[in-house]
């Protein structure tokens, strides 16, 4: 017995004296890594960012600029200035900062630590960061930028919108200068879900972001005209092939979340969740815009199994704020709400239409004929996008539409600008941040304050999420939700 006891005690003693630390050294997670290739970090950014931009942003704030009138409050009470949307603003903020920007900065820092540094990874990271910051400032105006995603600053200060926009321009310039297009140079390629590692396209994407930031700045500071001109001279997205878009797939697990909402809740049809809005329908019908039947389905009865009425009538749209999907209303088409519809980050039509605007505004040299050419090219790019896709527009319809539009040269400068701005509005259909931002910049078209709105004008901004307010004393007080942003005129 003594022996057994002695062994037991000895065992304990051995455990404690020698084996203890070894025995306790089991705290390394076998299912996680301490270093990863940037090709593995970028996909996390793209997919989360696009999931957010589609269902959380475009699907819930597109009614601010009255692209649709939803039938359910969850798809649109933000437009009424409903302060209850804390999860909406919180999800967007968290997604952009603590998923998107964080992983991009981690990739950038890792690339900078290499010897020599992986300059392309740094450049790609910076360009995508610039795009995320552009989205952020368009939603909140002032936001953390210069001190964000830097552990030296536990409570980042909020930079002004002007500083952020100028910072975005500088960030793109810095990135472009870093690019090493030597085919052997390391880059994010397998994880590059936009361009598959094509650095020329990254450069064009960067310049297009820069152009959009400059156009916002130009509203307040005409002295950026020179930068706009040089940006338009540089490699920039001008063709559909060069567009920056994140592709979804018609495969479970890879569906566009907007369509997946229909898939999960209404068996793949749009029962009026995103229904017709009088504002948008009136414009499209008034101009005989052929994109109407790409964007919308003809009016139908509410029962989803009902076939289209097929009269060519799109029926009445819901009045903004009515949250109405009465039988007979048209609904947003599955051409747009389809499983593999991409998240379009930056389109050629935007760039070319802005070029037309820059000419008319005198930011760049050129006459009204040149502006008109760009205007028509931009519209054509907007319509051609659907070639070979659901919602394709017949060439004769495109031609007839363009023919029906007066040449910019026949219009006053003001009317010419308005015509371009209206095209930007129509082009940006169901693109949440883009549509809202360009409307705030241009105020085209006229919108009506929705029924039941808790603010007296069209919504201009998100409020800061409670989580950031709670943790960051530098968060400024919220302005009224209809207070214009700095860039607005």
């Amino acid at each position: 017995m003594k022996k057994i006891l002695a062994i037991l005690f000895l065992g304990v003693f051995v455990f404690l004296s020698t084996g203890c630390d070894d025995q306790l050294d089991i705290n390394d997670d076998p299912l996680a890594a301490t270093q990863v290739d940037p090709n593995l970090l970028f996909p996390e950014v793209f997919v989360n960012f696009s999931n957010n931009r589609t269902i959380e942003v475009s699907g819930r704030i597109g009614n601010i600029v009255q692209y649709y009138e939803p039938s359910l409050g969850v798809f649109g009470t933000m437009a009424l200035g409903d302060l209850g949307n804390t999860f909406l603003v919180g999800n967007v903020w968290a997604n952009y900062y603590s998923t998107g920007l964080k992983n991009l900065v981690l990739a950038e820092n890792t690339a900078a630590e290499q010897d020599p540094a992986n300059v392309n990874v740094i450049a790609q990271s910076k360009i995508l960061q610039a795009f995320i910051y552009y989205n952020i400032t368009c939603l909140w105006e002032d936001a953390p930028f210069s001190q964000a995603i830097d552990l030296e600053f536990p409570e980042p200060v909020f930079d002004s919108q002007e500083d952020i926009l100028r910072g975005i321009v500088a960030m793109v310039d810095e990135a472009s200068a870093l690019l090493d297009k030597n085919p052997d140079a390391f880059r994010v390629d397998t994880g590059d879900m936009l361009f598959g590692g094509d650095l020329d396209k990254w450069e064009m994407f960067g310049n297009a972001i820069k152009l959009k930031a400059l156009m916002l700045l130009a509203n307040k500071d005409a002295s950026v005209a020179g930068q706009i001109a040089s940006t338009l001279q540089s490699p920039i997205i001008r063709t559909l092939a060069d567009e920056a878009e994140f592709k979804y797939f018609d495969a479970p697990g890879n569906f566009n979340p907007l369509w997946n909402t229909l898939n999960l809740f209404s068996n793949g049809i749009n029962p009026g969740y995103w229904g017709g809005s009088t504002t948008f329908l009136d414009i499209m019908q008034g101009t005989n815009d052929p994109r109407l039947s790409t964007y919308y389905d003809e009016a139908r009865n509410l029962a989803p199994t009902d076939t289209l009425i097929g009269t060519g009538e799109f029926g009445p749209g819901g009045v903004p704020g009515s949250f109405n999907a009465a039988p007979g209303n048209s609904v947003v088409s599955l051409n747009i709400l389809r499983p593999d519809f991409p998240d379009r980050y930056l389109t050629a039509a935007e760039v070319v239409l802005m070029e037309a605007e820059a000419i008319v505004s005198g930011y760049v040299s050129g006459d009204l004929a040149a502006a008109d050419a760009a205007y028509r090219e931009g519209i054509m790019l907007s319509m051609n996008y659907y070639d070979g896709k659901p919602g394709e527009i017949a060439q004769e319809d495109k031609d007839a539409y363009l023919a029906s539009l007066p040449a910019l040269g026949t219009l006053s400068t003001e009317d010419a600008l308005e015509a371009i701005h209206l095209q930007l509005y129509v082009h940006n259909f169901f693109r949440g941040v883009e549509g809202w931002t360009q409307w705030r910049r241009t105020k085209v078209p006229d919108l009506v304050v929705p029924l039941g709105s808790q603010v007296s004008d069209i919504l201009r901004r998100f409020f800061y999420p409670p989580d950031e307010k709670g943790a960051n004393p530098n968060t400024p007080a919220d302005l009224p939700l209809d207070a214009p942003m700095w860039f607005e005129n």
Binding site: M1, K2, I4, L8, V12, F15, D21, Q23, L24, I26, N27, D29, L31, A32, A33, T34, V36, L40, P43, E44, V47, N51, N52, I55, E56, G73, D82, L83, G84, N85, A94, N95, Y97, S98, N103, P144, A148, P154, M193, A251, P252, G253, N254, P257, L258, N260, N263, L264, S266, N267, G268, P271, A303, L451, G452, Q454, P465, G470, A471, N472
Partner: protein, 1037 residues
């Protein structure tokens, strides 16, 4: 050399015991002269003892004339008798309501006299648990002890129950007490399959695997003091379960205990039965609501396409539910002799639920045995094998077609549920859904019968103990415990399910293993006539592993073929964690004259989860018990017993595994609002993400819980009235917490030592023997607990910590100086008067205001009242539960009202009315009473809007009649010539009635977050709870 002489001394002592033996015999009776069967007779200071037989007689050998015999019997005061010259000693034991001499099992299976304890312990006897047996042991503690808050989480079969002792200690969410069975810790995990908010399945907390029929007693050690010897995990209290063992006697003790019960929904919503489905008074078969036309007997085409009369079916919801059945059958065989004991028990629990197709079967085999060998070695072991299978649990939450309770509650009043059958047509070889409720809502029978959620849990837990007792005052015990849980789950959505049209299935395999080893040496001996010492030193090793593998398979090629090769997409996830701990502990108790007792403990832990250089921490406790009535010889007819106790304890705590490094984790999916998220690999592309939490670095310190407790135990009128009162103050500091940091830093949290919380509270137990005559006896126990939990401090600059996040902007938040608060959107208030609700001046309807604190989620107090009345062989027991205060947000009520189905929505349905409790805010800021008439449909849609928490929040107070049982014990004279030695029959009922509740339509006792989480205050389409009525038969042979 010294050791050798000790052995020799022992041998001599053994020799000396073998001389001068004599046999004492006698009878042990109660005051009425009835023999007490199975009373224990022990020669004091030895391990030699026996029990009385069926006639109350005993026979025992003693060595000396001045040997002292100790007679004891559960429920009676023990008695010591010194052996004199007589060989016959008859003893009459006095009935003792309050069990002063009760032995309680504290840490590591250490038995102590309750009177010596300096802290609060509640003991619940096994007989309390087998009356109206609960299928989840946690629920059977309701109302029977103070200091404990128990919340049933759902009405699912095998659903979980949350137990919280003295409130929340840690903001990190590890607040469940430690469960210990026969000295060995076991898991009480509650792991949900699926997200609780978007359609999760609550599979129950695993303490429910403990079989009530096998329990001898449960000791609830409430404070940190009681648990210092168990280490960190017992900082939240410990529940010490002692299982039954074979009793000494020549006959096998055979018990057969069988119950049959029938379950019906305890509470279903009150529906209106006047209006059909539709909107704006017009019939719309695609709307599952009650805003349609008056049900007027018109002819219409119903949802199946048939001509039908528009009539109300007031019972359609009730008729959907079935009567659940519960059969519990236990057979136990036990016995033993002077040296050995043996017990085998098998239990079958077979249930069907109130949802069609729901069932749960649990089979428990329990075996234990022990033997005392000649070499002064005792050895015993116990093994429990538990197999639980269940099918047809329903999901709770939202965004999932399988949330059956919300579908059932949305039945239009004009729905004839007989038309829901049949629900499937398989004539084509592929199942086609028939008669769906709408084009978007599945036939509920399809959900119940075709979409599966099956679980299969196999568990083995047990212990092996070897004890060496060379001398009567010294022993060494080695105890090995293990617990294996294999939990396999399967859920499927059949192809053709609306919302999951392509079909999918999830397999979820969870394995948990725990190994626990204790080695302890105990010395107990008198120092002199007045002082007695008991000292323990011990060593503890604990290792826990969790492994999980989950696969989500989508788009089935062949329906109902659940092979991963039969789907388009498989999304597997795996998980693994392991943690290890060593502890060394000591425990010294010094007693003076049996009325003053001082206990000091200390423990040092080394844990794998803290930084290697900082992984050791020590924590002490000290407690004192003083029986002042004995010390001052107070003994009169009024005050018969009085004890004060005081305790201070500190418990250190570690954290979860793998929290220390900056880790990149492979991603399985990416979030999408409304459940639309995507999976990785995304079109073949993999993704990793950096951590959400900044790791703490190497200077992380262990957590520290410091508790102070004072208690008073008084007994009056010879023990007929007793009071046990406790005040406690528990401070938790250096919490290891992931505190929210600005997300603009890129991270959501930083893990560090922060925060301080405190729980202060009062616990009262009032025990009264109200009536006591020879035949009639009425005992009553009132328990009362009031705990105030306050967050004293978060990190500098942090003013809120989200404890849990619900939906529709509902959150449970901790903020300094406050209790846990439920935050949600409020009604918009006037800018000049924050109490005045203002309506939209155009519509007269309420609007959404800012997100604010709505109130506390925890109750102000909980109380229980249990009674035991007996008249001869007839006994009646009943227990009431009372919870006062706290809030509950009810999604069920929100839906019922917004959809026009709740009874109150029919009031004023056809006339416009004014929301007179609200105001109109004029442009100049003044308020005028609202005078804008609105329609009922608009009013309820605004008032009970899903995104306004305030309209759907209620006082969560309730009073429930928890259990009732009536049993009749046949007089033994009737059974004299049969092999049966005892027979009782009874009626039993559980969860019988809600006596009071401020919440309409639902059982107020529910919670979305489940047992392993501290979120509270939110109900989200919980399945209804059941009332259970039945009969019981108990036979002993």
């Amino acid at each position: 050399m010294k050791r050798l002489s000790l052995v020799i001394l022992l041998l001599l002592a053994g020799l000396s015991w073998s001389v001068a033996q004599r046999t004492i015999t006698g009878t042990v009776t109660d005051e009425a002269g009835e023999p007490l069967i199975g009373a224990s007779v022990l020669v004091q200071g030895t391990t030699s003892g026996t029990v009385t037989d069926l006639d109350g007689k005993y026979s025992i050998n003693v060595n000396e004339e001045d040997a002292v015999l100790l007679f004891s019997y559960t429920g009676f005061s023990s008695q010591e008798v010194t052996v004199g010259v007589s060989d016959v000693i008859d003893v009459e034991l006095v009935f003792d309501v309050l069990k002063i001499d009760e032995v309680v099992v504290t840490a590591s299976g250490i038995e102590r006299q309750k009177r010596d304890l300096g802290y609060s312990v509640t003991t619940i006897g096994g007989d309390e648990l087998t009356v109206a047996r609960e299928t989840n042991i946690v629920n059977s503690l309701q109302g029977k002890t103070s200091g404990v808050q128990i919340t049933n989480q759902s009405g699912n079969l095998g659903g979980s129950s949350k137990i919280l002792i003295r409130g929340i200690n840690s903001l990190s969410g590890n607040n469940n007490p430690l469960w210990v069975v026969d000295g060995v810790p076991i898991f009480d995990s509650n792991i949900s399959t699926g997200d609780r908010i978007s359609g999760g399945f609550d599979v129950g907390n695993r303490a429910q695997d403990i079989n009530p029929d096998d329990i001898e007693s449960i000791n609830i050690l409430k404070g940190a003091a009681a648990a210092a010897l168990y280490g960190s995990r017992a900082a939240n209290g410990a529940i010490i379960v002692t299982t039954k063992r074979g009793k000494k006697g020549n006959r096998a003790n055979i018990t057969f205990n069988s119950s049959v019960r029938f379950d019906t929904p305890l509470r279903l919503p009150d529906f209106q039965n006047e209006y059909a489905q539709g909107n704006n008074g017009k019939l719309n078969l695609q709307a599952l609501n009650g805003w349609g036309p008056r049900i007027d007997g018109r002819t219409y085409t119903d949802f199946t396409g048939e001509e039908a009369t528009l009539e109300a079916f007031p019972d359609n919801v009730n008729d959907f539910y079935e009567t659940g059945t519960t059969y519990i059958t236990n057979l136990a065989v036990g016995g033993g002799n002077e040296k050995s004991n043996y017990r085998f028990s098998m239990t079958a629990l077979n249930r069907t639920g109130i949802f069609p197709g729901s069932e749960l079967d649990r089979y428990t085999l329990s075996f234990n045995a022990g033997t005392k060998f000649d070499q002064k070695i005792n050895s015993s072991f116990g093994i429990n094998l538990v197999r639980t299978t269940s099918a047809g649990n329903v999901a709770q939450g939202g965004n999932d077609p399988n949330v059956l309770s919300s579908t059932v509650n949305s039945f239009p009043r004009n729905l004839d549920i007989s038309k829901l059958t049949p629900w499937i047509d398989e004539s084509t070889g592929v199942g086609q859904q028939l008669n769906p409720l709408t084009d978007m809502t599945n036939n509920p029978y399809w959900i119940a019968n075709e979409n599966r959620f099956d679980t299969e849990v196999d568990r083995m837990y047990g212990n092996f103990t070897l004890q060496y007792e060379p001398v009567i005052w010294f022993d060494i015990t080695s105890r090995l415990g293990m617990d294996f849980v294999v939990d396999d789950r399967f859920r499927s959505n059949r192809v053709g399910t609306l919302g999951r049209a392509q079909g999918d299935f999830t397999t979820d395999q969870i394995q948990q293993r725990q190994l626990d080893y204790n080695l302890l040496a105990t010395v107990k001996r008198p120092i002199n006539d007045d002082f007695f010492i008991k000292a323990i030193v011990g060593f503890n090793y604990n290792n826990r592993v969790l492994e999980r593998f989950t696969n989500f398979a989508q788009q089935l090629t062949v329906e109902e073929l659940f092979s991963v090769g039969n789907v388009s997409v498989n999304s597997p996830i795996n998980d693994f964690t392991e943690r290890r701990l060593f502890g060394v502990y000591g425990d010294i108790t010094l007693s003076y004259k049996d009325y003053l007792s001082l206990n000091v403990t200390g423990r040092n832990d080394w844990t794998s989860t803290l930084p290697i250089d900082n992984n050791s921490y020590f924590y002490p406790s000290v407690n004192l018990s003083f029986v002042f009535t004995d010390a001052f010889n107070i003994s009169n007819n009024i005050l018969s017993y009085g004890k004060i106790r005081a305790s201070y304890a500190q418990v250190g705590g570690d954290t979860n595994p793998y929290q220390l490094n900056f880790l990149y984790t492979p991603q399985a999916d990416a979030f999408g609002q409304f459940g639309t998220g995507t999976q990785f690999p995304f079109n073949g592309t993999l993704a990793f993400g950096g951590p959400a939490t900044i790791p703490p670095g190497d200077d992380l310190l262990p957590e520290s819980v410091n508790s102070v407790e004072f208690g008073l135990e008084l007994q009056f009128f010879k023990g007929r009235l007793g009071l046990d009162a406790t005040y406690y103050d528990v401070q938790t500091t250096d919490q290891i917490l992931a505190i929210a940091i600005p997300e603009s830093t890129g991270f959501n949290f930083r893990r560090q030592n922060v925060g301080a919380t405190s729980n202060t509270g009062i616990e009262l137990e009032l025990n009264a023997n109200i009536i006591r005559t020879k035949d009639f006896n009425w005992n009553s126990l009132i328990t009362f607990t009031s705990n105030r939990f306050v967050v004293d401090e978060l990190a500098p600059g942090v003013d809120r910590l989200i404890v849990n996040s619900g939906f529709n902007s509902l959150q449970v938040i901790a903020s300094p100086g406050e209790q846990y608060g439920l935050f949600g959107n409020t009604f918009l208030k006037a800018s000049s008067d924050s109490t005045a609700v203002v309506v939209n001046p155009n519509t007269g309807l309420r609007q959404t205001g800012p997100n604010e604190r709505l109130g506390n989620v925890f109750p102000d107090f909980v109380a229980g009242w249990s009674n035991n009345l007996s008249y001869k062989g007839l006994s009646l027991r009943f227990t009431f539960d009372w919870r006062q205060g706290g809030l509950l947000y009810s999604e069920t009520v929100q839906s019922l009202r917004a959809s026009g189905l709740a009874a109150e929505t029919a009031v004023n349905r056809e006339a416009a009315f004014v929301d007179t409790e609200a105001f109109i805010e004029n442009p100049d800021g003044t308020l005028t009473p609202n005078n804008i008439p609105v329609r009922a449909e608009d009013f309820w849609n605004a008032y009970s809007a899903g995104n306004i928490g305030e309209g759907n929040v209620f006082d969560a107070s309730f009073i429930k009649l928890r259990e009732v049982s009536i049993s009749y014990q046949l007089p033994t004279t009737w059974l004299e010539n049969s092999p049966v030695s005892g027979l009782s029959i009874g009626f039993e009922a559980r969860n019988l009635a809600i006596i009071y509740s401020a919440i309409p339509h639902i059982d107020p006792e529910t919670n979305l977050f489940g047992a392993a989480n501290d979120g509270a205050g939110i109900e989200f389409n919980s399945p209804p709870t059941a009332r259970s009525l039945g009969a019981n038969l108990r036979v002993t042979f």
